[in-house]
């Protein structure tokens, strides 16, 4: 039985565990503050806060309730706007009112919830982070500038928050009602969830793809959630390898100190990957298994030449991520087998990593083309390379030939130009809503160049590459 706290009330919904939190709170609990905009996680109107105990700490994250099954709420605290409303407006609600940050009002609650999440989380208090918290909220009216002004005010307020603050400060300052002080104890009182055997149940991670692709089917499906298995969310390093559990979310990766150390530009890269609420839900295993030819995290880890650990009952086997994709949406994955873990060799000091992505809208969009690379160098010489690109074939591509070609070459415009021609033989883009085939080929070349312009700024210039093209 799924059991969680909804606002200030313990609930045990007698509904299929695949029912979305959105439908539960709107149509079963009749809490109408949470709005429906798109039901695919792309507008943020249905954003709720989800509190969970992580290693003894109560941590809240924003999530889109339209993609979240009841199953994933088990043992957690789900907060809708009704759960933060008090007799007077919270400082966040007040800031939005005073800055004129609401027009038609339909998206507003999503912004209120996301910004409340920002006030509660441990991100540094500055405007940039406050705005990042609402990167998954769309306002069509569009009051972004006034919302930016409100976000700036909220980040100022958050500067007064004591470090390692408990909920007392948030309650005292009016951000939250007093009952939040007891939530931790109430969650701890829940008995540990019984381990469910996977059996024939459909495995779901964050639900961010399955609930977009087949919402009706999911609502009726018996689910087993990966997200509730803390053991599948770990990230650690052993013997020169980094191991990531399949249920680690994009946010788990983004905020992980080890990953940040290995990838100094990680936060910049991850800013290009979906939005805050989706990153809070989407798992790495889900991203691999949904087999999108353009999955950002797939492309990211392909360039690390990562390996997957697949498990069925008590049996495990490994498969290289680059061999995992056989054809469009076809995986080297047996029935009842699931992705358990991913690992890759910790890049040495002489290896540089980069991730590039271009789409119609820079943020919260699916790439026209994305690409990642890991380049090993000694002096001017490329000693080895891993290169990946998405959106150019039926599967995410590991660009083996181009990577091989680069090994042993000097970094200069001529070499990169030759590689940019070779790379075109490894892909077969089609024209679709994300761009014409011709555009995608040009974009691939440019993103390939972008890797080197970014990683080796002194060695090549855009002008030299453009001239190489013409010579």
């Amino acid at each position: 039985m799924v059991q969680f706290i909804l606002n200030n009330q313990e609930v045990q919904p007698k509904l299929a565990v695949g029912t979305t939190i959105l439908d539960f709170i709107r149509y079963h609990k009749h809490l109408k503050g949470t709005k429906i905009g798109c039901r695919e996680g792309d507008c943020g109107a249905c954003t709720v806060l989800v509190g969970e105990l992580i290693e003894g700490d109560l941590r809240y994250q924003s999530m889109t309730s339209c993609l979240m099954p009841l199953e994933n709420a088990h043992g957690k605290h789900i907060v809708s706007v009704e759960g933060i409303n008090q007799n007077t407006l919270s400082p966040i609600q007040q800031a939005i009112v005073e800055e004129g940050g609401t027009q038609c009002g339909f998206c507003t609650i999503g912004f209120v919830m996301s910004l409340t999440g920002f006030a509660m989380n441990s991100e540094t208090a500055n405007s940039e982070n406050a705005i990042a918290a609402i990167d998954g909220n769309i306002c069509r009216c569009t009051g972004y500038k006034s919302l930016e002004r409100a976000a700036a005010r909220i980040s100022e307020m958050k500067k007064g928050k004591p470090e390692a603050a408990d909920f007392n400060w948030l309650v005292q300052e009016g951000f939250l009602p007093a009952y939040f002080k007891d939530i931790k104890a109430r969650l701890e009182a829940f008995s540990a969830k019984d381990k469910i055997t996977i059996g024939t149940k459909k495995i779901v991670g964050g639900g961010t793809d399955l609930y977009v692709q087949r919402p009706e089917e999911m609502a009726k499906t018996e689910l087993h959630s990966f997200l509730n298995d803390a053991g599948l969310r770990t990230i650690n390093e052993q013997n020169g390898h980094v191991y990531i559990g399949a249920a680690a979310t994009a946010e788990d990766i983004r905020s992980n100190p080890l990953m940040q150390k290995i990838f100094p530009n990680l936060r910049e890269h991850m800013k290009l990957v979906s939005s805050t609420p989706i990153r809070n839900m989407a798992t790495i295993g889900g991203n691999f298994v949904n087999a999108s030819p353009i999955g950002d995290m797939t492309i990211f880890f392909l360039a690390l030449d990562a390996t997957l650990l697949l498990t069925k009952d008590d049996n495990s086997r490994i498969v290289k991520l680059r061999h995992f994709y056989k054809a469009y949406k076809q995986l080297d994955l047996e029935a009842d087998e699931h992705v358990e873990q991913l690992y890759f060799k910790t890049p040495p000091a002489n290896a540089l990593f980069n991730f590039e992505k271009v789409c119609k809208r820079t943020h919260l969009d699916i790439a026209s083309v994305n690409s990642a690379c890991l380049i090993f160098t000694k002096g001017d010489i490329i000693t080895g390379a891993h290169l990946s690109a998405g959106g150019l074939a039926a599967t995410p591509k590991y660009l083996a030939q181009t990577a091989l070609f680069l090994a042993g070459k000097q970094i200069n415009a001529e070499v990169l130009f030759a590689a940019s021609q070779l790379i075109q033989t490894e892909v077969s883009p089609i024209s679709d809503a994300r761009g014409s085939a011709e555009y995608k080929r040009l974009l691939l070349r440019q993103l390939f160049y972008a890797h080197f312009l970014k990683l080796f700024p002194g060695k090549v210039s855009l002008a030299s590459l453009t001239q190489a093209k013409n010579s």
Binding site: I109, C139, R140
Partner: protein
């Protein structure tokens, strides 16, 4: 005993709805409590874009448990017709289907999930017919809605002979999905005597009422349409809310059960029309001083499969063909071309932006070919008082030049220009583009008969006030403005006033909330109603204070005699009036004076006034990746004497960003079979918080405002969207800074990252 109100709770300098918005207490259609027995609807839409409908098989769907009944065209008791201007659009397809997802059958079931599942079990036998999605192809085949329209001024043919420079070209602008975050929806409740009460998310309650009456074949007085608020409209719910209203009404009427239909996002995107795409040809002639002497244009409007509002939109394209410029010789013809797309419709700007994009393209081509900055041509041709518009109206209180000059000075255009040039000289992979966009927009419905409104005011015996108008609140803050009007006339605290829902039984025969005119029309009608009650109250006060009514004024809830405060307070005054059997209710009416337009000559004075402004755009293009950002948009805008700066600023920033979206990332894509490819938020991108310009600086031009505007505060809904056109040209200019040899083959908005990258590396 009269209870005192809590003063100070409502601040009319801000949107009065904002408290409810931030706490989630505002009520939209889907938030209404549902009645027992409510049926939920889903539509079976045509799987092809054009064809003869042979038969529909409902058998499998009807067998699904929980399905109550399925309706098709033959179930419609009245006229199967929802066309607003031209009766050319059936509610449910009968003999032919004209666009992909055109509604064919309507499922009513016990739950939404069952209704949707049942709709998927319906099949139709359709003999396909050729599909046309391109307006020029439709034109070539003679598929035109209504009559072509031609605006003429002077003699362009003769004038071209005298021009030093002549340029011809083509300019296309794409559609735009409204993407109101609240999807279309309606909820019908059967009442006694065959009447219906309908909650609708519509900008046009009367249009919904009239449509339902026609579809059901019953009089309008049996249909009550009520609108509390909209979660966005932008024109998409002006005419296109009627179909869903008619569907719930049809089901409620035929089953005597409540019926509800709130569209899922993808269904909404696939079934509803968008901003009309246009393809246009232009010819522009300049003299040696870059004065535009002659301009000719042919506009091919893509109307989609039915006329909807397209004929009126077409007209406004012609009204704005010259944007903010005086052109003495003009010849322009516009065709509404019928294609197999969902019927396209109103979208903020209503054809105006599409017309302005063409003249701006013509100027850009002329300037770039001549090797000068387009700013030179723009500046040389700005409208001034006394200039005649191509439709015969004489420019009065024109602020084109004052906005332009003020923007140049205030924002130091010279410095911006230098900074852009320096940046481009010193940066290899990033290039900046500068563009100016002056705007001019006519305020009034171009259909003169629509320029009227009514208001109903009740002052209750406890001194509280209820205000009903025909204005629909959809985020533009009209409730706040209406409250300001009532508070001003009665001189009472805003807490005393309640703005009621928009309801066809309280205010009848309304024009839709559209054309930026709603606050003007309804506000002036409201002022009329308030004044009537106020005059009666003054008589009561005069008799009570033993003076004459002309010496009475109301200030701050107190009666003043000769500007001296008396002891008589608002609540006491109202109680006295009530006890003296004075009528404390009034109906106000307003119809815009002086406007007229003759469609036979295409001349007249269609607009109460014009709104002007100038925007300066600076964009930065990433020349490696083909992406772009907007550094700044600096605007001097003619608000008149703004009655609510916060709301007007919100409208300006919001309209601007919507306009930028239309010109940049928003790409409506139909494939050759007429199927919408960009049918979700994942494939159709509107601006997010990172896509807005880093800086938006809006300066309110100091003017007296127009007497034709409510409190001299000019209409603000649509004009700011027009600035968006400048985004297109600033990006084009940045691409040309990287690749000077490139000019677009023709002007083709939106300027997506794809077009930018192809331009950057075009040989």
């Amino acid at each position: 005993m009269i209870k005192n109100i809590t003063k100070g709770k409502v601040d009319t300098s801000r949107n009065i709805d904002s408290h409810n918005h931030v706490t989630g207490r505002s009520i939209y259609v889907d938030d209404l409590p549902e009645l027992q027995g409510t049926l939920y609807l889903a539509v079976f839409g045509s799987p092809v874009a054009h064809g003869h409908l042979r038969s529909v098989d409902l058998s499998a769907a009807e067998k699904l448990p929980g399905v109550f009944r399925i309706f098709t065209a033959k179930d419609i008791p009245g006229a199967n017709q929802i066309g607003g201007i031209i009766p050319d659009e059936p509610l449910l397809a009968d003999k032919e289907v004209h666009f992909h997802e055109m509604p064919i059958a309507l499922v009513a079931a016990e739950s939404e999930a069952i209704a949707m599942e049942a709709a998927k079990l319906i099949t139709a036998e359709i003999d396909p017919l050729p599909v046309i999605i391109d307006p020029r192809e439709a034109f070539a085949k003679g598929h035109i809605s209504g009559s072509p329209r031609t605006f003429q001024l002077g003699d362009s043919n003769k004038a071209f002979a005298e021009c030093a420079h002549i340029f011809e070209g083509k300019a296309d602008s794409g559609g735009q999905e409204h993407l109101y975050i609240e999807t279309q929806g309606a909820y019908a409740i059967p009442m006694e005597n065959g009447s219906l009460r309908i909650a609708s998310s519509t900008q046009g309650p009367t249009a919904v009422q009239r449509t339902i009456a026609g579809v059901l074949g019953i009089p309008m007085h049996k249909i009550e349409v009520d609108v509390t608020r909209l979660g966005g409209g932008f024109g998409g719910k002006e005419d296109q809310a009627s179909a869903w209203g008619a569907m719930v009404a049809l089901v409620a009427h035929l089953t005597n059960k409540p019926a509800k239909f709130v569209l899922h996002r993808m269904d909404d995107m696939r079934m509803t029309g968008k901003r009309n795409p246009y393809s246009s040809d232009y010819k522009i002639g300049l003299d040696k001083d870059y004065k535009i002497i002659a301009y000719e244009a042919t506009f091919y409007q893509n109307s989609g499969a039915a006329a909807d509002l397209s004929p009126a939109i077409l007209e406004r394209t012609l009204f704005h063909l010259n944007n903010s410029y005086y052109i003495p010789n003009v010849l322009a013809t516009a065709y509404s071309c019928r294609t197999n797309l969902p019927p396209n419709t109103a979208f903020r700007g209503f054809g105006g932006p599409q017309g302005m994009f063409v003249i701006e393209s013509a100027i850009h081509q002329a300037a770039n070919t001549l090797g000068i900055d387009p700013i030179v041509i723009q500046e040389a041709n700005l409208l001034k008082d006394g200039d005649v518009f191509p439709y015969g109206q004489i420019a009065k209180e024109a602020e084109a030049i004052s906005c332009w000059e003020e923007s140049k000075e205030r924002f130091d255009l010279k410095k911006i220009r230098e900074e852009v040039a320096n940046f481009n000289a010193n940066n290899e992979a990033l290039k900046k583009g500068l563009a100016l966009m002056p705007i001019c927009f006519g305020i009034s419905f171009t259909n003169t008969m629509m320029n009227n409104a009514r208001a109903l005011v009740h002052v209750y015996s406890d001194g509280s006030i209820g205000v009903s108008t025909g204005a629909v609140e959809m985020g533009q803050g009209v409730n706040t403005k209406m409250l300001q009007v009532a508070a001003h006339y009665f001189a009472v605290a805003p807490e005393r006033i309640k703005i009621e829902s928009t309801n066809t039984t309280r205010v009848a025969n309304t024009s839709p909330t559209a054309a930026s005119s709603t606050a003007d029309l309804n506000g002036k009608a409201l002022a009329h109603a308030c004044t009537q009650i106020l005059d009666r109250l003054k008589e009561v006060a005069a008799s009570s204070l033993d003076t004459s009514a002309d010496k009475i004024t109301l200030k701050n809830e107190t009666v003043y005699v000769d500007d001296i405060a008396s002891d008589l307070q608002w609540e006491q005054l109202i109680l006295s009036a009530f006890q003296q059997r004075v009528n404390l209710s009034a109906k106000g009416h307003y119809s815009t004076p002086t406007i007229h337009f003759d469609k036979t000559t295409e001349k007249g004075h269609p607009f109460a006034y014009h709104v002007y402004g100038t925007a300066i755009f600076v964009s930065t293009v990433d020349c490696i990746r083909g992406t772009y950002t907007f550094d700044a948009v600096k605007i001097v805008h003619d608000f008149g004497a703004s009655m609510n700066r916060m709301i007007d600023l919100g409208q300006t920033e919001g309209g601007l960003v919507q306009g930028i979206g239309w010109m940049t990332m928003e790409e409506v894509i139909y494939d050759e079979t007429g199927r919408l490819r960009s049918d979700a938020l994942s494939t159709y991108k509107i601006p997010d918080i990172y896509a807005v310009p880093k800086e938006i600086d809006v300066h309110f031009l100091k003017t007296d405002g127009s007497d034709m505007a409510l409190f001299k505060s000019k209409a603000v809904g649509e004009p700011p969207l027009l600035y968006g056109v400048g985004a297109y040209f600033s990006v084009i200019n940045a691409v040309r800074a990287f690749n000077p040899n490139w000019m677009p083959e023709f002007y083709d908005a939106p300027i997506t990252p794809e077009k930018v990258l192809m331009g950057l590396y075009a040989i």
